[in-house]
Amino acid sequence: MEIINNPISDIEDYIENSDRNELPELNIVIIRNITIEPIKPYLEYLSLCMEHKLNLKFGEYDNVIQDVLTNTELLQNDTDCVMVFLKLETLSPSLAYKFTELDNNEVHKEVELVKSYIHGTLSGIRSRVNALISWHGFELPLYPAFGMIDFKDDSMQIAVINELNNYVKEQLSLYENCFYIDLNNIRSLVGAKQYYDNRYWHIGKAPFTLDALKEISMSNFRLLRALKGKNKKCLVLDCDNTLWGGIIGEDGLSGIKLSTNHPGSPFYEFQQEILSLYHRGIIIALCSKNNEDDVWNVLDNHPDMLIKRKHISTAQINWQNKAQNIQQIALDLNIGMESLVFIDDNEFEINLVNEMLPDVQTIHLPKGKSVEYKTILASCGYFDTLSYTNEDKDRGLQYKAESIRKNHHNNFCGNIDSYLESLEMEVSVDIAEDFQIPRIAQLTQKTNQFNLTTKRYSESDIKDYCEQSDYEVFTMKLNDRFGDLGIIGCSIINITDKNAVIDTFLLSCRAIGRGIETVLLNSCIEKVRSNGVSEINAFFKQTNKNSQVKNFYENHNFIVIEQNDEEGHFTLGANDSIPKNPSYFKHVKTTN
């Protein structure tokens, strides 16, 4: 992502020279009352970084309501994201420029007009598409109308604009898949004096500098990455000169720099940021060239060590090369390389991983800049998700439990069924309930490996499916001897009078390899049959991550209707038998 700091022409060249043919499209529509075409190269570049080809459309300049309600070409079913830019100066010149002239009634009237404009725009967009909406809030004036005392009174300019932004946030929360982008925050990041280009505001109603456009683009892509399942799930950390200053093998426990005072405080703060991510559901792993005991000694015994053994889901601490070790980490956690972010202070290690494991995102911590480590991590934008659920909160624990399970496996010499039986698994398939919708949507967005059709859905999509009478949404929950894994699978079936189609069938990667997919599939089949439908159709759509399920339906007695390198179509007839649920589960509960 470094190229984004280059001049526009470099970015345009990079885009021009990239092969975008095979890439999936990212459809963005920008609705606006300002000139914002200059943002395009940044959005295009960030799309490429996310392995998508940008298809960008602009609504007419300052024709927002009409665009939303009557322009049928603009918002379409395949629109992924609608970005809304409404600048107050254009929307309400009175509130922006003439505030001190207005009496309270006039302010109130104007506020109501703006609110109804916002309401009309938002509800209009939602009535047309389910796309992710990223709504850019109003900027507070740098020099408010009443000057230094403006903040004092609720009737003055700052309070009024805050009220409008609060109204926007309220309205956004009424719908699914809507997100507020705080331009005041972005303006702070860029620096207010580098954010506006007053010349171009006057010449062409283009208010933003390139730096501002860059930062706005990056904020939007934090959301878009999450929307397309490209957000990262795991942080792999080096130890020496990363988690603490110095080298534990040489400096010893009392010699490394880690404390609440300088020079250890930058590392302490960095660890706080890491822990913050842990509690948001990011998995933490260690990859260090050290003697194992030395590293665990720090985690267990150093008084200022915030990251403890319990936070680490898996670790590769040895003298082998880090590319191999990171591969092993991905294997242990059963997640793809593209879900990993690797952080190291050593350029050699970073380059090695960039070469050998190009799918892994790396962050190099520059020498001598430990005071910046926390900011570098906080600003990377790889970990944003579109929601925060209980499963996220406990994810670290679950992956830790999973590691224990795997170690448990290693001690087991017998047949794998006995091992699976020893896990004492309890599987439960249920019809989805409302409170599970965020988790189900999240699963469709994030699951890549055991995913038959890889259809990505938003919460409002799942809600629709739950409400429609010709669709069934199933969740599958699992717990075992080591803990509760929560909802780890789901399926969406379309059942009409004559036909049934499995639209979505997926399993979270940490639940693969236990045979529970058979339970979910059997539940789906039984439901279809109990509705009196004879034939079930199922599909497989090949991606570069899900080839392990290519033969899933065939292995479960479905008949292959058609299969090629890209797709498969399978059916199960009324009289075809279904494979039995594995016998090693402690308990199986289904809806039937």
């Binding site: 526009i8 022409s9 075409e37 007053n198 010349r199 171009y200």
Partner: protein, 75 residues
């Protein structure tokens, strides 16, 4: 040399070859020189030559000749 550097920058931003840039080069005869690229050009010149144009200058920078003259004045 200001001329060489200016031609290089214009070539890169307007996606034309250096040889095609003449005294008369302007938005009238260069297709890629639309208002958006004009902005990129202005910003590119400011960054590369470490100068600053005001709004009235920006809208006048409409040919190679004028840009060169303006730059020479400022540098």
């Amino acid at each position: 040399m200001i001329e060489e550097k200016l031609k290089k920058i214009m070539s890169k931003i307007l996606k034309i070859s250096v040889e095609d840039i003449t005294v008369d080069s302007s938005p009238d005869n260069i297709e890629t020189w639309d208002s958006l690229q004009h902005m990129n050009l202005v910003l590119g010149l400011e960054q590369n030559f470490n100068v600053s144009f005001d709004d009235e200058e920006i809208i006048q920078l409409l040919s190679y000749e004028i840009i060169l003259a303006t730059l020479e004045e400022k540098l």
